[in-house]
């Protein structure tokens, strides 16, 4: 076909279903059908390692993981984390060990979601969810306090009114961390080396690079998410 082959390529795209844009709520059709935004909006499946809003995790017995070491604040390139540690009350400790995170604030007007805080954390207290759609309307809302960041008694992140949570966004938090050891050593790939979390138990390790490469490239995302969510379920039942 030579030069004219390109015309066929563009013509063939009509009516294809694999569109790069998706439907979103709003407009006339949306108003007439009176459907909720979440039912109308079609969201693309999020990548497993997407960096979103942080959570502060707890151990399975309800103790906070944060020990107030301030390493996250030290490593933060945007200087958006403000942490002050305090000594635990020996009779009624907040976290196992001597110290706990007394003040913990993240300013999301500054945060660049680089995930360095997650990398720095020695206890996996802070991880990132897949939530990135949270547009606040004032600066106070932008500063998340410890209460807002800390997971609830069920181990799930708290949902602020302005946040648009979708199912599965609290899972796979900081998947990279599960692929590597806390020391960052490659020999720990696929090895679970962290404590259990409330609500999730011990989370399964991410598939190793070799496994990811061997599975067909088209089905990486769908396969990865389904298998790891199944693993999450099984780990909950343990």
């Amino acid at each position: 076909m030579g030069y004219l082959g390109g015309f066929l390529v563009t013509f063939r795209q009509h009516g294809r279903k694999n569109r790069v844009t998706t439907q979103y709520s709003g407009g006339r059709l949306f108003k007439r059908k009176k459907r909720s935004a979440s039912a109308m909006d079609v969201k693309v499946e999020k990548p497993e390692r997407l960096h979103g809003r942080h959570v502060l995790n707890r151990y399975e017995d309800g103790m906070e993981k944060c020990i107030g070491c301030e390493l996250c604040a030290a490593v933060c390139p945007a200087k958006c984390i403000h942490v002050r540690g305090a000594d635990n009350d020996p009779d009624n400790p907040t976290s196992p060990g001597e110290r706990f995170g007394w003040i913990y604030e993240i300013n999301y007007l500054r945060c660049i979601h680089c995930d360095l805080c997650v990398e720095a954390c020695p206890t996996e207290a802070i991880t990132e969810t897949k939530l990135f759609e949270f547009s606040f309307t004032n600066r106070k809302d932008a500063i998340y306090t410890k209460n807002e960041l800390l997971v609830g008694d069920d181990g799930k992140p708290r949902h602020m009114p302005w946040e648009d949570w979708r199912p599965g966004e609290d899972q796979h938090t900081s998947a990279w961390m599960r692929a590597t050891a806390s020391a960052g050593d490659a020999s720990f790939v696929g090895v679970v080396s962290w404590a259990g979390e409330r609500g999730y138990g011990v989370r399964a390790a991410e598939a190793t690079q070799a496994e990811a490469d061997s599975s067909a490239d088209a089905s990486i995302t769908s396969d990865g998410t389904t298998s790891s969510s199944a693993q999450t379920k099984s780990s909950v039942t343990h």
């Binding site: 015309f7 390529v9 563009t10 998706t22 407009g27 006339r28 059709l29």
Partner: protein, 405 residues
Amino acid sequence: MIALDPMLEGDVLWTPLLIVVLKVLVVFVVGLVATMLMVWFERKVIAGMQNRIGPNKAGPFGLLQTLADGIKLFFKEDLLPRRSDKFVFALAPFLSLVPAFLAFAIIPLGGDYRDGNDGVVTWFGVETRVQLADPHIGVLFALAISSIAVYGIMLAGWSSGSKYPLLGSVRASAQMVSYEAALGLSLASVILISGTLSTSGIVAAQSTLTDWHVVATGIVPFIIFLIAATAELNRPPFDLVEAEQELVGGFNTEYSSIRFALFFLAEFMNTVTMSALIVTLFFGGPQPISYGGITLDIPLIPNGLEGTIWLLGKVLVFLYVYVWFRATLPRLRYDQLMDLGWKVLIPGSLAWFMLLAAQRLARNEGWNVFTTTAAAVVVLGACYALLQGAFAISNKTREREGAQF
């Protein structure tokens, strides 16, 4: 001036005058609405070709998106650059818009041209055509008007008092002037075959499929006309005038608000007009598809109205083709553009015109058509060799002396 329209022969009466006013109004409104829909059509089709959805929120299927954009542009701040030539800056959008609408006036928008009818319809007891004006110089008028449209773009860039618009307008004038020649030469073939300049005459000459000028002139003038028209319209792949990656926005960089909207409107209006012109010149305009005595007839619709439907369908095909070009072809480099215009299209259309003229002469003089054609081909071959020789020599000279622009 007299007898632009059959109904204006003799005394000017109230009814014909009112009909003319009505026609002006209709052509203006149709032009605006067609432009609006064209913008939507282009965005929707190109979205389909790029695996996107396209506008779908304002109105059904996003049809009112252009209207919403237009209203938004109206209320935007109208900036007047300090270093601009204020009068020319304000004038340029209108110089661009008015020709766009004027060119639409000579397009036959309907009427009954079949069975040797000449497209005359009777409205309120007055014989007229379904086109605003039918001057004897019809096609020349279209060429003249499309040349005037260059001034709008050229002056816009020049008066902005800024570098990128100036570069854009320099490109515009060079590009449009050089492609105008190819446009006119391929048009000459059509005029040679049909023997008239009037658009309604050209349409009337294309009653069957084999009479359509795309067939009757051989397909070459049509292809050259299509390419030259794309360049004339500054549409991709020839949109060097507003090459975003190179010139920010080209000639309209400094324009904002409704002035920008007018340029935008003119551009899409020109696309619609040029598609209609191509259909009129090469595809029989409002003529139905007819071959060997069989005519595709839409039942229940009077022939006069049917012409409009045929025209609309054919124009839509070409609008689609323009969008298709945009979605498929990458932009040409500037020297490639000039090479294509001067070294391929102009000699090509000229040669084809000579060939057709030789055939016509042979038929008129009663010579043997085949011998004449063969002789013409030999002569044109010699011309081609000379041309290639000239190119080769000039290339060599340039290599030796270095490029001097």
